[in-house]
Each structure stands twice: as structure tokens, then as C-alpha cells.
Symmetry: C2
Subunit: 376 residues, 2 copies
């Protein structure tokens, strides 16, 4: 990166008192959204970009939150947001938001249930992608943003961008749908199911009310994350990085860590289980499972997307086997059927699904060029 | 199948008192092997075929064990063994054996440790593929079989067949290596690692001594099997069979079973956890991880296989992503380098890794033709 990022940032909180009716039938009468912004909203509020997060993401997209600990407190997509970066904060006003059901400050399973004053836990209503979009629209209202210049996200975040074009077609000029899919395959759901079952059958889950027992189903969450990591990485990348390399001191022929790949997965699993909330993990994976905008159109994605007015940039990565290029092309083909304006880039990358988070020159150049051409 | 199978069968048991030194450094002073045989050994014992089992297999390969419950007690590879079937019991004498460390009668973690009279549990020594081959060779000695007409297996069973050609080159005339690989990739090991961690971190694992607590880490074993099933099936097959189909009564937007694929995985996981032993699962997956016959030759598989005298049939399946055709071709190419006699068939099948167990006409015809040409 040729220039610095957005520097020190701080989260903001906004309270909402208009009931939010959820796809699941539940209602949230009050909820908070935690968000961050970077750059300056222009006079006619035409330069705002919303960044939607994926399974384990949150509102802290860019910059750092601790000047004494910059590297460790950088946002999860810092490499793409900042002055002179593809999401150029000299030009755009960027909004990152923690979705409802999350565990980073917005109302979620860890929040107190107003009916009994205890954490919601498993009683928190299931949230769908469209619910997040509605909540994000209300945040936009309060920020004075009638129409987003763009909504952008990777993976589950890309699904939110796609949903925006259907639910609020007049409020989004561009959708950047990165490493996403129009719905999950049976195999995708199967991996999510194993992850959820690991959490739900952990004795420390306590039917989702573990907060009251002052515990956390860390075993299950750790397994879920380990499994997730396998699907985020490309097989060849894993082979190159870890191969069959033994750990120093290995060779005991036992069940301790013997191979480097095991050490990596345990580290990732332990770290994640230490900071993420298990109920949020359940809820986010279920939102993924249910996402299927074509369903109301009898499975016809082109028909479901017919109402969209936005222009699209769809990006996939060659070695992504979680949401493969084939799945992105389904979106592109559906959009082309009714002559939507869609650009598509298939980026050669060794990094599997995780590629969407990487500082890849070609990928970033594609995003930068697309956004540079947006008229404000 | 045009004709019936081998009919009612019964397992036999053989006790061994010559210490077996294991790759891990452990020693088994006494051990039992449980096995079955089908067909008749000819006068010069030249018609014997050994079938090696995979992760969850055992000695009961063919026929049934309960005349009142034939379908439910059929052997796991019954479709390929019997009079007129590819492994023709009118011609061959077939031996199925439960490997050491197994949970179907041969000495394993459930057996009593002679030093303290309690089940071995986690103290059972780790067993490598080569140890199984040595034990199988001793069984052959006792059965009067100096040289196998063939050793055959799928998956981990195929690895045993491959190992036979290196360890006892003069005792095997043909190796049938089906849906196997010369070693595990980092991704293969990663999936095994998640499965093992699910078992080991289950509170009912009790450091591998759960027998003494009259319990079993069924949660972990269930997760391990669910995950295994994802890797045994092909993605397209899963999409075709389950897709995004909801269960009858689904639509509750919750964490209960909503999709057919979840129902399938839970059923498979529950069933397996009810009959398989968790310590055996750990041990078998570790044997897979460690298998790497090329290692002693500095990673040169061709060099490692140079000593082989057997002829080879290598079979892979197009949609197998656990041990893909590419991995089988590594074996074929290594064999061709030093002019070994090798036939290779890449079978078009929708059934992923599980294809090796299926009654596929082309696949069975290839195996039948190969075996028909074996001179006795």
C-alpha cells in the first residue's frame, strides 16, 4: 500500500425503536446497531458505500482502534479501504455495520432480552439476510443516505449486496458481489450442519443459555471454526503451505499434534473460540442456509433479480471451492438474461475462499477501477 | 446379480503368540485376528485373495450372518464376492480379516490389556499400515498361504494392498488398489484432525478410557462420521440427491433439522456412533495420516515401489475428491517408471469416494476381467 489507512477509528452506536419484523416471524421492538464510518459524506449524500460483513465479520472494517496496538486492532478489510485504496476514503463515505444477531455490539444473543432481563441466548429470533438489509436501510435513513452509491460484501456479505438490489432496488446504484453464491449447495449446508451440531451437542451449550451458566461451548465452536478453515482454503494452497510437514519434535506416533496442518487448525480454532459467540455462529450459518432469493420466483434467479436497478460487479476466485466461480457465473448469467449492467471478474488466486480478504493486486485493481467509474 | 452370494457365513478367530513389533515402537505379545473365508483353498494354495478393509470396515466382507435377517447382516462388499461375481468364489478362496486395532473381534482398544486386566483404551499402541500387513502375513502362514493370488482393497484397504507389494514382494502376485492414494494430502489430514478433535474433546472421552466409565464419546464419533460422509460423497451427487430440499414440516426457521441433507447426516452419524468404537476411529485415521511408503525413499514413490514383483490393477472414480483420480495416477506413474505391469481404470461414477463399494457394472466388469486372467 502506497499510503496509510484511515487511522484511528471508533465505533458508534445507534438505537432503533421502530419494531423490526423478521422473516422468521419474530419481532425486535428495540435494537441497537454498532457501526463505523470512514471518509466524509458529501452534500447530496451520493458517495456512501455500505460494506456488509460475512460469517465472522463485524463493523470494524478499516483503521485501528488502539494506537498502541495498530497491527492487532486493524479492521478486517483494512487493505481495501483508505485514502488512495480501492474504496477510496478521499472520495467515498464508507459505512461498516455489525449485523443484528452479531456479537460485536449490535443487538444479538448476548444482549439482554427485555422480557426477562437475561441474555437472549437461544431465544434470540432467527435472522435472515433480508432482515439485515431492512436494518441497514433504517441505518441509512438515520445517516441521511437515501441511496447507496454502492453496497459491497464478500461471501455472506455479497449475498446481502445481492439482496439489496431486490429489496430496495431504488436505493442502491451499484452492487459489488464478491466470492458469493445465489444460495448454498447441499454440501455447503452439510458443512454448516456439522459445525452447528458440534456447538449444539457440546455439553456447555446448555440449549443456548450458556451465559447463565457462566460458560461457553468452546469445544464446539473450536471444531466449527477448524472445519470452516478447511473450506476457506484451497487444497493446493494447503498442500503447498503445510503438505505433510511434521512439527518439530513430532514422530511420537500418537494423537498429539504431529503435522503442521493440525497445529494451524488448532491455533485458528482456539483463537476463534476465545472471542466469538456460539449463538451468533449458529444464527449466521442458518442465515446462509436459508438465503435463496430465487425461491419466491420458483427457483428462477433471473426473474428474482428482474426488479434490480443497480449495476453489478461480480467477482470470483479460481480456487474458491466454497463458493466457486461457477456459482458466481450463475448470478452473472441470471443478470444478463434481463440485460442488467454486469461486469464479471474471475481472479486467478491460490487462496481459495479467503482470497476475497487478500491484498491481491489484480483483484484490487478491478475493484478500484470499477469504483473509480462511479459517478457521484 | 444373476446368482446368489456366499450364503450364511461365520467368523473364525485365530490367536497369535509371537510378539508383533509395531512401527510405533510398541509390541503386542499376544493378539487375536478375526476373519472369514469364502470359497475353497486349492491344493497348492494358489487361489487365495486377501481383502483389506478401510476405515470402518471389518472381516465380514460377504454373505450374511443371520438367516432371519439376511439384508441387514450382509457383508460390506457382498456385491463383489460370490459365485459368478467379480471375486468368484467358485474359483478363488477369499479371506476377509479385521485388522488389529479394530472393534470387531480382533485385538484392539476394547480388548483387555494383559498388564492390568482392563480394556486397553488409549493405551493401545498406535498401529501403522505396515503392522497390519505383517499381521496379515502371519495369518496367511497359518492358513497355509505362502503367496496371495491377489491382495485387494479400497481406500485405506488399497493402501494395504500397495504396502504388501513393498513389504512382501514375493508373497503377492497381484495388487488391486482401488480408490486409494500414495499418502494423504494436507486437506485429508485436516479433515481427519477435525474428526479426531471432535472425539478427543468430547467430555465422555475420558482420555480414551471411557469403557471404565461405562460411557462412550458418541457426540464426537457422530460428528466425525457426519464429516466423513461429506467427504465420501460427490458434491453433484449430494446436490442431486438432497439439493436444498426441505424436510416435511420444515419452515420453522430454527436450528432443528430443516434440510434433507441434515436429516441424512444425522441419521448416518447416530447409526455409526451406536456401533463403532471411538478409539478405533482415532487409530484408523492416524494410520491413514502416517501412511507414506515413499517417505523412506525421500518422497520418490517409484523408488519405493521398485522392489514390487506384483502386477497391479489401479482403479479410481471420476467424482472421488477424497482420493481423486489424480492421486491414483501418481501410483500408476510411479509404477510405470520402473516398468511394472500395471493396468489402470478410471471409472465414470457419480458416487464420489463411496463408488468403490457400489455395484457399478463397468467397475465390476473391470475387476472381473482382471481377476479372470489371473493364472492359478
Amino acid at each position: 500500500m502506497s499510503r496509510g489507512g484511515v487511522g484511528l477509528v471508533a465505533a458508534q452506536r445507534m438505537a432503533f425503536d421502530t419494531p423490526l419484523e423478521l422473516r422468521s416471524g419474530g419481532v425486535l421492538n428495540h435494537y441497537d446497531l454498532v457501526y463505523e464510518t470512514y471518509g466524509t459524506l458529501n452534500a447530496d449524500a451520493s458517495n456512501a458505500i455500505l460494506i456488509c460483513h460475512a460469517l465472522s465479520g463485524h463493523h470494524h472494517v478499516a483503521g485501528h482502534t488502539d494506537p498502541d496496538n495498530i497491527e492487532k486492532t486493524l479492521g478486517w478489510w483494512d487493505n481495501i479501504v483508505g485514502p488512495g485504496r480501492p474504496l477510496d476514503t478521499d472520495r467515498f463515505f464508507i459505512v461498516g455495520v455489525n449485523n443484528i444477531g452479531g456479537c460485536h455490539g449490535s443487538t444479538g444473543p448476548k444482549s439482554l432480552n427485555p422480557t426477562n432481563g437475561k441474555p437472549w441466548g437461544a431465544d434470540f429470533p432467527l435472522v435472515a439476510v433480508v432482515d439485515w438489509v431492512h436494518a441497514q436501510a433504517r441505518l441509512a435513513d438515520r445517516l441521511g443516505i437515501r441511496q447507496w452509491a454502492a453496497v459491497m460484501g464478500g461471501s455472506l456479505g455479497g449475498m446481502q449486496a445481492l439482496r439489496w438490489t431486490i429489496t430496495y432496488p431504488e436505493r442502491i446504484r451499484h452492487a459489488l458481489v464478491i466470492a458469493a453464491a445465489p444460495n448454498l449447495t447441499a454440501e455447503n449446508i452439510a458443512f454448516n450442519d456439522v459445525a452447528r451440531q458440534a456447538i449444539i451437542t457440546d455439553p456447555d451449550f446448555h440449549a443456548g443459555h450458556y451465559y447463565e451458566y457462566d460458560t461457553h461451548p468452546w469445544r464446539g465452536l473450536r471444531l466449527a471454526r477448524m472445519l470452516g478453515h478447511i473450506t476457506y482454503l484451497a487444497e493446493d494452497q494447503m498442500a503447498e503451505k503445510f503438505g505433510r510437514k511434521r512439527r518439530a519434535g513430532a514422530g511420537s506416533y500418537g494423537f498429539d499434534v504431529e503435522f503442521e496442518i493440525e497445529s494451524y487448525l488448532h491455533y485458528q480454532g482456539d483463537k476463534f473460540a476465545g472471542w466469538f459467540d456460539a449463538n451468533t455462529y449458529l444464527l449466521m450459518t442458518r442465515a446462509l442456509d436459508y438465503f435463496d432469493p430465487a425461491r419466491v420466483a420458483g427457483g428462477d434467479l433471473a426473474a428474482a433479480l428482474a426488479v434490480a436497478q443497480a449495476k453489478f460487479l461480480v467477482v470470483s476466485f479460481t480456487t474458491d471451492w466454497r463458493f466457486s466461480p461457477e456459482r458466481s457465473r450463475e448470478i452473472v448469467n441470471a443478470l444478463m438474461k434481463y440485460k442488467h449492467d454486469v461486469s464479471y471478474a474471475e481472479i486467478t488466486s491460490p487462496h481459495g475462499h479467503d482470497a476475497f480478504l487478500m491484498d491481491d493486486a489484480h483483484y484490487h485493481a478491478v475493484v478500484a477501477a470499477y469504483l473509480r467509474n462511479i459517478e457521484l
